[in-house]
Symmetry: C2
DNA sequence: TACAAAGTCTACTTATTTGATGGACAAAGC
DNA sequence: GCTTTGTCCATCAAATAAGTAGACTTTGTA
């Protein structure tokens, strides 16, 4: 299961995707529409900005907006920024790899299985973008 | 990422799958071979027994063994017992469903995406069994 | 130039989960 | 009856999750 933080972040991005091209959107606006605690949302959006997913503008008329077109921002990228590894174990993670202490990956059955689930998930997350998060 | 508990549980099952048909296996034996803290492993094996994945025998010559043939125990079943939901969000979980407060699932873009990743993962975990966890 | 409207940053807090450990108890075999 | 083995109970430290408070900075505009 993903954290509330990731869930909120994805929801916020879905909303911003729907508002793309219409100028900056207030944090308060996103928070209200998506029912997210505003102070919590602040930290999430800031993190997304620091990772170049979002841009912002301060002062009156300010707010947050996507740094790129919605269809160019893959869910895998976002997921990794907020939640971290997509893989179920460090020893099968592409972006957060860590060697499995006490286990030889070459002949580890669990390693083999976790690669399969990782690839299944990645296939979806690579292909889908924040554009797909827009509500109907 | 899955917890150490799930990781240990799956490793232990992989080992028991390799020993299937050879009689009860000592907790201490599994712990040593798979480098798992023995007391921690005890609680995991007990939980798997209480969920009918394993059977045990007390006293001399005792130990743990699979309740069924390795190929009959799917990874999805085991995962749900130790780790819990396979889905990334409660609102897309088949076995641990919980309604998403403040969100209409019918038109939720995130819900739609999480169903896709859930199905991708499930497809692997349903098909694969503890037999596939046996090391080379 | 001053004010108000935004985002930014630092620092907490509180509850829950994770990853264990220690020791008494119960059953089974010799 | 003694040893071997699993079972159960209680506890614990550290990490993480989820959220809150408040001061600060930047920017537009009157």
């Amino acid at each position: 299961m993903i954290s509330k933080k990731t869930q909120y972040g994805l929801k916020a991005l879905g909303y911003l995707a729907g508002q793309y091209g219409k100028g900056p959107v207030l944090i308060a606006d996103i928070a209200k529409k998506k029912k997210i605690p505003i102070k919590f949302l602040e930290t999430i959006l800031l993190q997304l900005k620091q990772n170049n997913i979002l841009e912002s503008k301060k002062g009156k008329g300010g707010g947050y907006f996507l740094a790129e077109a919605p269809k160019k921002i893959s869910l895998a990228t976002v997921y990794r920024i907020i939640e971290g590894p997509i893989a179920m174990l460090p020893c099968v993670s592409l972006n957060f790899y860590a060697k499995c202490k006490d286990c030889n990956e070459k002949n580890c059955g669990l390693n083999r299985m976790m690669i399969l689930t990782r690839d299944a998930t990645l296939k979806v997350l690579y292909k889908k973008t924040v554009y797909d998060l827009i509500d109907n």
